[in-house]
Structures are given as C-alpha cells and as structure tokens.
C-alpha cells in the first residue's frame, strides 16, 4: 500500500498548477469577472496539455492515464477557480469530435436540470430546448434551467470530478485564509495569533485534508460508496471553507473586489450538480444495509 502521490503524479499536478498560474492567476480571474466569456485560447491550451484527453487511451490519441491523475488535474482547476464546463467536456473527449483537443466546448443538462455555459457551448448533451436563463449567483458560471428535467442516476465520474474541483477550492480557501491571518494586523499583532481566528483556519485544513483522503481513495477504487463519501465531504470542505475564509477576511471579505466570494459562489454552483447532498447521504445510508 503506497497511498501517496507517485513522482509522476506530483509532476503532473505541478505542471497543471504551473500552466494555470501562468494563464489564469488571481488578476486574470478578477478580470474575467468583469467580462465573463469563455477563453477559447485557454481552452485549446488545456486541450493541448491533455486535460480533456487524460483518460482517452493512447491508441485513440489520448494521454492514457486514469482517474487518480484526472482527479489531480481537476483539483488544480478547482484551486484556480477555472471557469467553463470542464467536467462535461472531459467526459465527452473521445466521443464528441474536438472535445479532447479543446476545440469543441461541450456542456450537458445536469440531472438537477441546470446547464452551465449553454450559450458558449458548441455541443449540448441532453435536451435543453426548453432552457430558460437564470441570473447566476456565480459571475463566472452562466446558468440555464431546464424545467422538469430528470437526468436519472448521476455519472459517478462526473460526481468524483466535481468533488475534486471542490477539494481544490477548499485548499485555495485554506491558503487564502492562512495568508490573510498571517499578514493582517489588528490590536498590534497578526490576527492569526488569536485563537478564534487560528481555530477557524485549523478547521479549514481538517475538512480539506479529510476530503482529500476521501477523494484520492475514491479515484483509486472507483467504488460508488467511496465516490459518494468523497463528494459529500468535498462539497462541505469547499462551502464551509469558503465561508470561513470570508469570515477570516472580515469586512474586506464581504466586498466584490476580494476574490473570496467567488470561491463560495462556485462551491454553491458545484454543490447543486447531481450526486451531492441528500442524494449522496441516501446512497451512503443504503450502503450501510447492503
């Protein structure tokens, strides 16, 4: 049992992080909020880096890696708050022409009846004919709602990749909170010296690290119960983590300029995708009697 990242997995994660820091750092993120359009050049760059084709066999022109590597890549995307229908396009790679290369943007009608990035997508999987636009809470995820949509059982890979994105966002929330707590001074010392603030940061890490173990294990086993557990804990780590991060930032955290609200809003959007919340709790409960 070597339940630790291999050298290759570390290198893959580092490469993905480097690409996103170069192409989608905090400044680009805030600029994107002002004009929320899908960055096609970045999308193709992701395609060239193999992001969408990670699980496509080498014989079919893909990278030929597995779920663990894919989870690491999606964790980095979640950490950078990378916008776009990443999961849907990744799942379409190998079947929808151009998806693997990042030439074709694919979105889908989620089981919960929401469609992300409908107007920017080239291909929509599912019936979005009756879709009506929402004024999305997340400025970087345009949303449509399809009334009466029933997607059936959620795709376990989609559930897991959503969990991986949430894990990345939870990690970013922890990093931002710790950075702020260590530099922002009040009452003559960094606020991170106060136990009340320190304990918020510690719980951010505890939730993120517990979720990390669950997400990575689910990527290794592919077991539906492991995936449900991973999703439940990652949703919570991201949502509560972003909320606690906002609290650590105080009044500044309540402003539009501070990026923390973007973490929370994205976490809310992802938590609504099918396979989370009550759905995962019910399947985990049923699993106890199996």
């Amino acid at each position: 049992m070597r339940f630790q990242l291999s050298e290759e997995q570390r290198a893959l994660r580092a490469g993905m992080r480097e690409l996103l820091v170069r192409r989608f750092d905090g400044d680009v993120l805030r600029a994107a909020v002002a004009e929320p359009r899908l960055d096609r050049a970045l999308w193709r760059e992701l395609g060239a880096a193999g992001f969408f084709a990670l699980r496509v066999p080498e014989a079919d022109g893909g990278v030929g890696l597995g779920l663990p590597e894919t989870v690491l890549a999606f964790e980095e995307a979640g950490r950078a708050l990378l916008p776009g229908p990443l999961v849907a396009t990744h799942l379409a790679a190998g079947t929808v022409p151009g998806a693997a290369e990042g030439e074709t943007v694919v979105t889908d009608v989620d089981g919960g009846g929401l469609v992300e990035w409908l107007e920017e997508a080239d291909v929509v999987r599912g019936d979005a004919a009756a879709a009506v636009p929402l004024k999305s809470v997340d400025p970087l995820t345009p949303l449509h709602r399809v009334p009466g949509a029933h997607g059936g059982a959620a795709d376990p890979v989609a559930v897991l990749l959503t969990a991986a994105e949430q894990l990345g966002t939870a990690t970013r929330a922890c990093e931002l909170a710790v950075q702020h707590a260590g530099t922002r001074e009040q009452f003559g010392q960094p606020i991170g010296a106060f136990q009340a603030v320190k304990h918020l940061c510690a719980q951010l890490l505890v939730r993120a690290e517990t979720a990390r173990a669950a997400v990575y294990a689910a990527a290794v086993t592919g077991d539906p119960m492991d995936i449900a557990a991973a999703r439940l804990l990652a949703d919570e780590a991201a949502e509560r983590g972003a909320r606690d991060c906002l609290q650590v930032h105080g009044g500044m955290g309540f402003t539009w300029e501070c990026e923390v609200h973007l973490l929370l809003k994205r976490a809310w959007v992802r938590a609504r995708r099918s396979g989370g919340g009550a759905e995962s709790e019910e399947s985990l409960a049923a699993g106890l009697l199996a």
Partner: protein, 377 residues
Amino acid sequence: MDLAYTPEEEEFRARLREWLAKALPGLPPQPSPEDWPGRRAYDLGWQRMLYDAGYAHVHWDASPTTRLIFLEETETAGAPYVGAGFVGLLHAGPTIAAEGTAGQRDRWLPPILRGEEVWCQGFSEPEAGSDLAALRTRAHRDGDDYVVTGSKIWTSHAEVADWCELLVRTDPKAPKHRGITWLAMPMSAPGVVVRPLRTLAGSAEFAEVFLDEVRVPVANRVGDENDGWRVTMVTLSFERGTAFVGEVVACRRVLGELARTARDNGRWDDPVLRRRLGRLNADFRALWRLTQWNVSEAEANGGVPGVGGSVFKLGYSHARQELYDTAAEVLGPESLDLERPWVLDRLSSLSYTIAAGTSQIQRNIVAERILGLPKGR
C-alpha cells in the same frame, strides 16, 4: 497512489485471520468493566496468547502497514482490546526501546511483551493537564535514589499497575520544558497511594496517584536528567498517529449495527435520521482513508508519524461523539437506560475531545505547526 497490499502483507493478514478464528472461540467471557483485577488478568492473558503466537512484537518492530493490518483484523474479528496493556505496549515500551539502555530494555521489555507486567502513565497533574510541561511533581537526588513528592491524575489502570512511567521536575529553575526527567517508578514503592476516580460514566476508569517521598533508583531513569520532555515526545507522537486504527474499524461496525437496528425498530423511515447515518458513513470512510494515508506517509518517512495525527484526532473525536449521539436517536427513550448497548459508549465518547490533548490544543497545533500561523494567546 494505490491501496493494494503487498503479497507479504496479504499473507500476514491471512495467517493472522486464520489464527484469530482458532484462538478467539476458546477465550473466557470478558470481565465486567468495573472489575479491574479481572480485566488485568484477562488482558494479560490475551497478550500472552499473542506472544505465544508470535504477534506480541507487532506494535514495536512491524512496519506501519503491518500494524494497520494487525489492528484492522483483530478489531474486525472481535478480539479483546489491548486494555490494561495499553501504556506498556504503546507508550512506555516504545519509549524504553528507543531511549533506554541495554539493561533497561532487558529488564522491562520482555515482561510487557509476555503479558506479565502492567504500566500506567504518570504524566497529567491537577494543575497540568493539556499544559503538560507545567507539571510540578518534584524529585531531588539523594545518593542513588530520586526522592519524589507530588501527585498525578487521570492515571488509567493505576490500581492494577506494576510500573508507572513518571514525569518529574528535577530542575525547578530551568525553563518549563527543560527541567523534566522520565522515571520508571514501581507502584509498590512506599509512599505511593492510589485513589480511584469515578468518571461521569460511573466507572472507576482512572485514578489519582499521590506520591510522598517515594524513593526511585537513579538507575530507573530513562534518558538524561532534565531531558524527559524530549523522551516523552517519542511516545506522544505515536498516540496522535496510528493509535486509533482499531477504533475507526469498531466505529464502522457500530454504524452498520445502528443502521440494522434502525431498520428493525422503524426509525429508518425517518429521512433526517437516515441521512445522518449516511453522513456518518462518509465521515468514517474518509477517516479510514486518512488513516491509510497517514500510515503510508509514516512508512515513507521511516516509520515516524507526522503532525497529521492532529488532523485525524480532531476529525475522529468529533465524529465518534456524533456517532453515539446518533445511536441515541436510533434507540429513542431506551437511550436513557444505562443497560442498553451504546449508552455507556455515548458517555465515554465525551472524553475523546479532551484526552490526549483537547480539541482546542489540537487546533493550535494544526494552526501553528502545519499552517505556520504565529504563536499567541
């Protein structure tokens, strides 16, 4: 990143499982929780069986993964808990093995392994609980002896222990972490008085120990004089590392029993309760994965558990309390009957966020040592 065990590890698991299947049916019934002499005899008898079968050393010189398998399998099979042997096997023993002289190892380690001697832990004091280094029990040299005076508290198994791993202050003028010494004190020494303490669960699980001019030979000192704090950290890091493996397995078993009980008594139809059980399933699965992660990390670091143990303990101690609170929801009014299963467990789970460093202390450790936040108040 994988979760597969090596062929050697799988072989160890299979042999152990086979041995447990033969050994467990012949065991006498467990003594009552109140019967400490009975429990001493029972727990030592089990340790002797492990010794004869070649498993006594597993906590000391097996790899972290092998230890994980041992704890997983013994708990799954319903084998006795280490019980009265806990301090000797998991605290004092590893400390003596790492820091003791050859003579000290020969004197104290074999009786621990063979299930002949019980140790207790004389660390905490009324004025020094989570702030362990604030301890006041004094010792001064008199010829070949230290003369010890003071008191200890929360000392598990003290009334049935042969030895106490004792922390004493030998230099009151030194900074508080620097003037401490580690001694092996015979519990039969004149001047040692044990008074059992009744817990909120009603049991006499631990005791106060009063020390009045107790003479402990200098030869019983492990490590250098005034170096006891460093010596002690050897054992505490273990407690925060893999020590809860068996308990996570046990909690997962209890969770399954709770679900079946709820199905049988109709409580399963309550979606709020059902979802709570589902949520606990996620928690304990994740805690098991975190255990595997920490064990793999320890293995990669040459067997040394890291501060990640604090992350685990925080999550685990709160999940355990949630588990038994949920058990009370499943039981309904019967949760007020002390004779029902899980009710005493619910009471004893209250200690988990306090013992071995409170949750508040653990959060400070996580914030300062992992996240690098400044020390403060």
